[in-house]
């Protein structure tokens, strides 16, 4: 394989490297981050509608209250909590803690479970 045709990150995960806790959670951090940036469009639309008046507000509420709107909001909540939990994991690494492989695997599972539990809890408490 010539040097210029080498697979570039992140496209070597899967066909060349076995997916691992560290690499999969790392790329998921970037994917959720990008998805959250796109998701801000929904938030800006919502806030602008609230500032524009009752008619725009009710329209926005109908859009977000639809099946698709609620599904997007649910996925977006999970992405937000995943990015937050894994971000905290990164902050610990920045401080120099948790680099041993067993620790990194353990904190990875903690991030996965925290993101799921926080998402479900948040919807149960705030949006019954």
């Amino acid at each position: 394989m010539s040097a210029t045709k080498r697979p570039l990150s992140p496209f070597m995960i899967g066909p060349y490297y076995k997916p691992q806790m560290t690499s999969v959670l790392s790329i998921t951090h970037r994917i959720t981050g990008t998805a959250l940036v796109v998701g801000t469009l929904l938030l800006v639309y919502w806030l602008a509608a609230a500032a524009l008046g009752p008619q725009a507000y009710h329209h926005a509420q109908a859009v977000l209250g639809s099946m698709l709107g609620q599904l997007l909001m649910f996925l977006w909540t999970w992405a937000l909590f995943y990015h937050m939990a894994n971000g905290i994991r990164h902050l610990f690494w920045d401080a120099g803690y948790g680099f041993e492989m067993p620790d990194a695997t353990k904190s990875g599972w903690a991030v996965i479970w925290a993101s799921i539990i926080l998402t479900v809890l948040c919807w149960l408490i705030a949006a019954p």
Binding site: L8, S9, T40, L47, A50, A51, L80, G87, H90, I125
Partner: protein, 125 residues
């Protein structure tokens, strides 16, 4: 392969003079966002279901409006920093990366401005 030395290649390009600023601000904004995200996610799920007047009333409280403006400013700054790293890692050729970065910066600034002004309009009405 170039036979030029690494020093010759960087000479004349100048120093970026910002050292670890990008890295540091990404950490500062992420620490600030932990409590803000918890407040925001809970509040939006709960109060976005309110009627128009009730939602205006909720957002016009100085505490809620202040938290929301802080959240928005921090989120859009953090988003700019994060997207920059992703573009720098994955987007080539270089000019496409710079165009994507510029467009993203302008759009994120505009989104931040629209959302913050919306909150202020409600809060100061």
């Amino acid at each position: 392969m170039s036979i030029r030395t690494p020093l010759a290649r960087v000479r004349g390009l100048g120093s970026a003079k910002d050292g670890t600023h990008h890295w540091w601000m990404q950490r500062v904004t992420s620490i600030a966002l932990v409590p803000l995200v918890l407040w925001f996610a809970f509040s939006m799920l709960r109060y976005s279901r309110l009627e128009y007047e009730a939602f205006q009333h909720w957002l016009s409280s100085p505490i809620n409006a202040g938290l929301m403006v802080t959240f928005l400013a921090t989120v859009f700054y953090h988003a700019k920093l994060g997207m920059q790293v992703i573009y720098e890692d994955y987007v080539r050729p270089e000019w496409v990366m710079y165009v994507a970065l510029l467009v993203t910066q302008f759009v994120l600034f505009l989104l931040g401005a629209i959302s913050i002004i919306s909150v202020l309009k409600i809060a100061l009405a």
